[in-house]
């Protein structure tokens, strides 16, 4: 179990890709997932590739109609981003709920995406945003939808020598509201038992122009709720309609029992969070 561990600190994405290809090492950014995994002996690697010194991969910017978040952007920078506050406030909410301040200063959005935990808190908002991920290797890059990238608990479509460099999504239309809600067994520093990201755009007459609902911790990967979204689309938002949609979202999940909560509690939680999210965004409560 004891072995030498080499630490590589590449200074460019190209160098990082090259080292990754040569060594097949374990990539580390903030270390909030990798270090505990290492301590518990959950992976074996002779080389750690520390991405934290790569330039420009921690920026949050607009590119045309898109918002681009560098994989190395940490939760604190997301929490403090003016751009995200104006466009996707739920990302600020989620960043403020991850761990404590120390974790928020270290943990990166790219790490949360690549770790692909069913309970990863940034994933439902990014799914709701129809986000794409940009993957690099020494030969070039490819962009795929997050929904294709996530394949199972801890499993993604990332190829052995690929690095996640960016997360991109279309800027929601002006007036779009969004919120992230979750249930845990305590108020802070907790892994979600259920989470829900909700986005809503109403026209002047309270009719739904666009709605998106994504859930975390209720299936092997975070999921969208297409049936409920279809039910709501184009309708006038009422409490009765919200109740109907919330009921529908329960069927989207396939939760399990674990040490944090039972499947039954999770199913109940889905309904509560979706209802609360839509009521809040619709100004009905």
């Amino acid at each position: 179990m004891m072995h030498e561990l080499r630490l590589e600190t590449p200074r460019s994405l190209a160098e990082a890709s090259r080292i990754l290809k040569e060594t097949g090492g374990k990539v580390i950014a903030g270390g909030t997932d990798v270090i505990p995994q290492m301590r518990d002996g959950r992976f074996e690697a002779n080389t750690l590739i520390d991405l934290s010194r790569l330039p420009d991969l921690d920026t949050i910017k607009e590119e045309g109609d898109f918002i681009v978040i560098g994989a190395l952007a940490n939760y604190t920078s997301i929490r403090q981003s003016q751009l995200l506050q104006e466009t996707v406030p739920m990302l600020l909410e989620v960043a403020g709920l991850v761990g404590g301040l120390q974790t928020q200063n270290r943990g990166t959005i790219g790490g949360n995406v690549v770790n692909a935990s069913p309970a990863g808190d940034t994933l439902p908002p990014l799914l709701a945003l129809n986000a794409e991920v940009v993957l690099n290797n020494s030969d070039g890059e490819r962009t795929i939808p997050l929904s294709d990238f996530l394949q199972g608990p801890g499993q993604t479509a990332i190829a052995p020598h690929e690095l996640l460099s960016e997360i991109r999504f279309q800027k929601p239309p002006a007036g779009t509201k969004s919120t992230f809600l979750r249930l845990g067994n305590r108020r802070g520093m907790v892994i979600s038992i259920v989470s829900a990201a909700t986005m809503l755009l109403l026209d002047g007459g309270n009719k739904i122009e666009e709605v998106r609902i994504a859930l975390g911790a209720v299936a092997p990967i975070p999921i969208r709720c297409p049936e409920a979204e279809a039910l709501l689309q184009g309708q006038v938002l009422t409490e009765a309609l919200i109740e109907q949609a919330a009921e529908m979202t329960v069927k989207a999940g396939s939760p399990i029992d674990d040490v944090r909560g039972t499947a039954t509690y999770r199913q109940h939680g889905i309904k509560v969070l979706v209802r609360r999210g839509l009521l809040k965004l619709g100004g009905l409560r």
Binding site: R187, I193, T262, T264, Y265, H268, R285
Partner: protein, 737 residues
Amino acid sequence: MTETIGKSLPRIDAYGKVTGETLYPGDIDRPNQAYGKILFARRPHAIIRSLDTSKAQALEGVVAVFTAKDVPVNEYGLIMPDQPVLCGPGSDKPFAERVRFVGDQIALVVAETEEIAAEARDLIEVEFEDLPVVTDPVAACDSDAELLHPDKESNILLHYPIRKGDVEKGFEEADVIIETEYNTPAQEHAYLAPESGLGYIDDEGRVTVEVAGQWAHEEQEEIAHALDLPLDKIRVIHPAIGGAFGGREDLSIQLVLALAAYRLNERGIDRPVKIIWSREESIIGHHKRHPYVIRAKWGATKEGKLVAAKSEVIADAGAYAYTSTKVLGNATLMVSGPYICPNVHVDSYAVYTNHVPGGAFRGFGGPQGAFAAESQMNKLAEVIGMDPVEFRMRNVVRDGDEIAVQSPLPKGVTLDEVIETCAVAGGWQKNGTWGRDGKGTDTNKHIKRGVGFAAGFKNIGFSFGFPERCWATIELHGDSEIEKVVLHHAGSDVGQGAHTVFKQMAAEAVGVDFDKVELLVADTAVTGDSGSSSASRMTFMAGNAIRGAAELALQKWQDEDRPAIAEFNYNPPATTPYDPETGKSEKPNFAYGYVAEVIVVDVDTETGHVHLVDVICANDVGKAINPQQVVGQIEGCVVQAAGYAVLENFIQTGGEVQTAMFSNYLIPTILDIPDRVQSIVIENADEVGPWGVRGMSEMPYIPFAPAVTAAVHDATGVWFDDFPLTPERVLRGLGKF
């Protein structure tokens, strides 16, 4: 010279702890030290058929591997020696080759580094024969249950009966009867500093252990017993201690550290050995608060008189006895409450299972007993249609009233005043009878507000016949006037501020300024036995010892002794054990603390979250030597009890601990603690306590959980008889699924 007691003087340890200068055991390094790693059983019940350490011994960098055959007297236990120091073959101790819980220790590897020690530990080959795992303390009582200790006749470790009056006749007189089964959970102490420390041979050839503990002289005795060495060949030092809460009452790493130092020295290897447990090792390796099953049947008249209280109490003692006598003893007394009741019938049992041992934890069984008692009181009040404060005031014991053990509490019973003070602060009024208007405003239709009340009492010290003692020595230095006072005292400052209070009491007793007192503390080489820093006893006991020593030293000073040195061993009034047939006891304890709480909660009926809004705690402390510290103890106790009542869910499945990390054993964060805590410090002098001091640091725990469940009932109409009140449990209780 000014008065020093009753003042909120700053803690003498504050500066060092804030700046990081203070060394906790894990921070201390000694030249040439080696590192130890323990092989834990990691299975709940098995016989070790073979143990092969040869590969571990052969690994480069390994200094030694110790197993059961290396322990001179392979047994340990504060109340009875039922646990092997190291489990496995090769010692004289019968059945020592058995492991009985996941944290049983099998071997100690000593190596050049912690990493090598861990690698060598994993090379030890153990062949286990698994035995049936006993997890249900009720089923474990059956005569055909698998025995944890084959040399005992039964898994029932202890049984305390109480018989007073005729409980069946009492039920006949009752207009209402409430019958309930209560289940209280295990709880992890979760102190900041996991177990860590050093074992070495000191300059005078003593086997020395530097660790965090609660009772240095008891640890010294246990080590001497296991190593078969005279007491004066053993030295225990307690450096700064990062919390204890009863979790360091029993021993953890002390015995193996001493064993390693002793055996290495025999082999001519003079190297200190250091052990630091990981959080996971700490959580499986030390005892927990006993889980309890309590079946209570109580009756009262329509007029609000309690007439019968029958309780069956079953404590899950886990694998070994630890301090079950004390924990069960208190629960046996507290399960009938501080109320007048002519007919009482209690049978309480502590039962072996393959769970992590149950042991000392703030309140020592009091919170468990009080949960049943106070819940019964609240339910009876409800069915009679009487306010819960009014119902208590009609039954509360006052001076001269008999409690369940057929004797009155020591004079100076103030619970009636404590209840009234707390109730008034919580919005109650007395208009003929006690009552409270409304329960506050619901936040919205899903978030319901409720208010709950509970009261409690608890003994100071272990007592029930235990020979309590506390030693102090005072030196007075100077010529014409006293220039310096040196206090020797063993009492452990586990973080509660004991040493600051010792210094205040010594200054007061001698009549000098605070700054003139120097302390020599927490080292068996320079102090006598002070007893444990637990059971709310240390300020009470130390104060009397210090006063006694100061009086004698001042006499010698008058007689021109320079320096004037005197020692004093304080023995409080003698106490009596429970009568084995009736539980009758003339004086089970020499002093008590009294407490009452009003708790306001918001219950989210959609998510099941219970939020603590207000806690009002009235605590008769007798005399607050340092009021700031007293309030700190109340607030800390409230936070810990809040975790117990609402949040902390220690899960063991088939004897395996499912929650051995802080990512799945959730303790309160700053977002989870009550919004407001109002500490009401009442000072009615105890007749025996120094300057009137009573003990206080466990009291706020006692009524906390039943006050929370009463508040949740007020909010939702549902009684919760099991806790912690996790969101899932609450929603199930509310019938949401």
